[in-house]
């Protein structure tokens, strides 16, 4: 099967049916490893056991940004190629991205209070991450406001591409401005600055969360395709009753 064949929603549903059980099993397995490694990880020499919040905070931050990046690619698919699954992918991703961005902000606040002495500061990293969450809410609201999914897709695609400007701002905010948030310590040129004993469980959790995201996204895309089928059939039924 060529990759382009997956653009067909019916084929996608068949593929989703096949891969979802495997993805669920892989996600559970990855979380079993990740959570065990996180529990066994040593305390940080400065932060103590609060470093365990990092194993939730960093994967959530990664997924919040990754999800908007994925929506931006889907937006190009909608605007340039009118790919049949592009707007389905974008719509299904938005609530998942919002959930992980919220989790990133919440765990950040829980980590910040004992380490910085405050839950929140209006520094560049935190504020740009909050803007990302607000943009997710805006996109979800747009999907719900515009009744015709293909009209909504075009509006959302433009908003998504404009909003993608926030991604490099989040990433480089700690380099461009003085922030209370620590500088980049994982995904940076020259390699991570975190000790291996904490880095290994962190990557295990990043893999587990990413697998969870992929599983949820495929399942949500399947639901969205079914929703569009229901909508199409309801419209056919209404036309039949009118005639």
């Amino acid at each position: 099967m060529a990759l382009i064949d997956l653009a067909n929603p019916t084929r996608f549903l068949v593929l989703a049916e096949r891969v979802l059980p495997w993805l669920m099993a892989a996600t559970l397995f990855a979380f079993a490893i990740g959570l065990t490694q996180s529990a066994l990880a040593p305390d940080d020499y400065q932060q103590g056991a609060t470093v365990k919040i990092m194993f939730l905070h960093v994967p959530s931050a990664w997924l919040g940004m990754f999800c908007w990046g994925l929506m931006s690619v889907a937006a190009l698919g909608t605007l340039v190629w009118r790919h049949p699954l592009a707007d389905v992918a974008a719509k299904a991703a938005a609530p998942i991205g919002a959930a992980f961005t919220f989790l990133c902000l919440f765990t950040g606040a829980m980590w910040g209070r004992p380490m910085w002495g405050t839950y929140w500061v209006w520094d560049a990293r935190l504020t740009s991450e909050l803007i990302l969450l607000i943009m997710y809410f805006g996109v979800i609201a747009l999907w719900r406001t515009v009744e015709n999914p293909s009209d909504a897709a075009r509006v959302v695609a433009i908003v998504t591409l404009v909003g993608a400007i926030d991604l490099p701002i989040i990433k480089f905010s700690v380099d461009w401005w003085n922030t209370l948030h620590q500088p980049e310590s994982v995904f940076r040129m020259g390699g991570p600055t975190i000790d291996k004993s904490l880095l290994v469980p962190l990557f295990a959790m990043v893999i587990a969360f990413t697998l969870l995201f992929v599983t949820l996204h495929i399942a949500a895309m399947r639901n969205e395709i079914l929703r569009r089928r229901v909508r199409g059939m309801l419209m056919l039924q209404a036309r039949g009753q009118e005639a």
Partner: protein
């Protein structure tokens, strides 16, 4: 496992993660069942998709 003096912050973070993940899983499952039920109801009332009608032999 000793979580130290800030145990409450760690436990609240993990509890929040569980709530968010369970909420996402529940949303996906409930939505899937709702769509499948709606499709089933429509098919039971004789409504078929346009593409399904085209594929049917005349």
């Amino acid at each position: 496992m000793n979580l130290g003096p800030h145990a409450a912050f760690i436990l609240v973070s993990y509890a929040a993660a569980i709530v968010v993940v369970v909420a996402l899983i529940t949303w996906v499952i409930v939505d899937f069942r709702a769509q499948r039920r709606a499709l089933g109801d429509l098919e039971a009332h004789g409504v078929t998709r346009r593409s399904a009608e085209i594929k049917e032999p005349a």
